[in-house]
């Protein structure tokens, strides 16, 4: 299959990787250059003040992107996953980090701070990683869908839909790696913010910063 054919039908490089062994991350990087440039131009040309309600939705999306980016990045750093799982972590992690970067750039000072996470070892075991990845991707897909109707700006909605479909591809990929049917139902249900928050809280993955300093007289050897 020629590179041209792949570029047309294989937007995220999965087939390129399968057919000629080109690293998925590398292929993505090359293929994305043009698109990223166009999007940047579009964003600059059509920049409009962000509505407060849209900023709130974007921050909500950013919180999920933080979660995903941290999850895949830690998984990649763990160097403990099987080849396929590690490859997925590397590729999807790069995309989620790009999402975070874009959200933070658009929100500017209004961007929420990066939370801390404790993934409790699920990034260090291939089975646990894949199961959690399926849950996270399905969650993101449902969350984006759940907020679509709340977005007022057409340009923000266009971006959200663009990311939503990418998350859906990730969900299908992770499901495939996990031995789960990628597309089981004819209709995907959206989830409200409350429902999503409940799921995220239940994971216990959000953590507080460890206390590392104190106001106390030292008792070191001196």
């Amino acid at each position: 299959m020629s590179r041209l054919d792949l570029d047309l039908l294989d937007r995220d490089g999965a087939l390129a990787e399968a057919s000629d062994g080109v690293s998925r991350a590398g292929f993505l990087a090359g293929a994305a250059t043009g698109t990223a440039g166009l999007l940047a131009l579009a964003a600059d040309a059509g920049a409009a003040p962000l509505r407060r309600s849209d900023a709130e939705v974007l921050n909500y999306a950013l919180s999920l992107e933080y979660l995903q980016a941290a999850f895949y990045t830690e998984a990649e750093r763990s160097k403990a996953l099987s080849k396929k799982a590690a490859q997925a972590a590397r590729t999807v992690g790069a995309v989620e980090r790009a999402h975070v970067k874009a959200f933070r750039a658009l929100l500017g000072r209004r961007a929420i701070a990066r939370p801390r996470f404790d993934f409790q070892g699920v990034t260090e075991d291939s089975d646990d990683f894949l199961k959690t990845a399926v849950a996270f991707e399905d969650l993101a897909v449902a969350a984006y869908k759940g907020q679509a109707a709340n977005i007022r700006s057409d340009s923000v909605l266009a971006s959200a839909i663009g990311i939503h479909t990418v998350e859906a591809r990730h969900a299908a990929w992770m499901r495939y790696l996990n031995g789960v049917q990628p597309a089981q139902s004819a209709f995907d249900e959206p989830q409200t913010r409350k429902q999503i928050d409940r799921v995220v809280e239940a994971t216990g993955f959000l953590s507080a910063a460890p206390r590392t300093s104190a106001r106390r007289s030292p008792r070191y050897t001196g």
Partner: protein, 266 residues
């Protein structure tokens, strides 16, 4: 033609639908319903421009100087092997004697026979340099550090590196001959400030290094890195094992060095 090529061809054809539909509508050779559908499509507005500029996905940067530590989440026994039957090397408390989180440098990982994950960590016990295994679930989330502190006992100099590049150097006081500053690899465990002990200067860092001679020192004889009220005697072999800096230097260090920084005393 492969299945994928066929789909690719379909996508190409789809891209030309707009122009093709107009041509077909004008030809009069299509059914009325088809022409109507084409006209409806032609009236649709252009897709809005996305608000977000999604950058190119990038792989992780070179991370040779990245180290990890994790705070202890619950009291646990550190064992000689990654197994519940392993010999207990130390019992670790959730808090340091200073009341801060107990950081453990993470050196490795292994699953036991039941698939439970264990972490190999450096222990704050004597002899210095002791490593042991703790259950993964006993520690919290990983913290990352891109700094490294090197204390050269022969040169009486401390150097802080960030991403492998020196960002601060300063002369130091170290332990006298009878209370030597221990050599080895350690971690900065905590940071104390706003206390009323001028002999420690304005800021003090605790390390996981322990004096092998002052074992009965309060709180276990941990070696600190701190300021002083006797700057005139630095550099030199002047302390009970701690690493002393002039106050201006410890303040500079405090601005740059995070807790969790690995320390090499050589």
């Amino acid at each position: 033609m492969t299945r994928w090529k066929a789909i690719g061809g379909g996508l190409l054809a789809g891209a030309a639908i707009g122009a093709g539909a107009v041509a077909l509508a004008g030809s009069g050779s299509e059914s009325p319903g088809g022409a109507e559908a084409s006209r409806a499509g032609a009236d649709l507005p252009a897709a809005p421009r996305p608000a977000l500029a999604i950058p190119k996905p990038e792989g992780l940067a070179r991370e040779a100087d990245l180290t990890r530590w994790a705070p202890l989440r619950r009291a646990t026994a550190a064992r000689a092997m990654p197994s519940r039957s392993g010999r207990v090397l130390a019992r670790l408390a959730v808090r340091t004697p200073e009341g801060t989180a107990h950081p453990l440098p993470v050196l490795g990982r292994r699953a036991d026979e039941r698939g439970r994950l264990w972490l190999r960590v450096a222990l704050p016990v004597l002899p210095n340099g002791t490593h042991g295994w703790v259950p993964r679930r006993a520690v919290g989330g990983y913290e990352l550090v891109r700094h490294r502190l090197v204390v050269d006992l022969d040169e009486l100099e401390l150097t802080l590196l960030e991403r492998g590049k020196p960002v601060l150097s300063a002369p130091v006081g170290i332990g006298e001959g009878r209370w030597p500053t221990p050599r080895g690899r350690f971690i900065v465990r905590n940071r104390l400030e706003r206390y009323e002990s001028p002999q420690y200067g304005p800021v003090a860092f605790g390390t996981s290094a322990r004096s092998a001679t002052l074992t009965d020192w309060p709180a276990g004889g941990f070696v600190g890195i701190h300021g002083t009220d006797q700057p005139e005697i630095l550099p030199g072999k002047v302390s009970h094992g701690c690493i002393r800096l002039r106050n201006a230097d410890i303040l500079r260090l405090a601005r740059l060095m995070p807790v969790g920084t690995p320390v090499l005393v050589r």
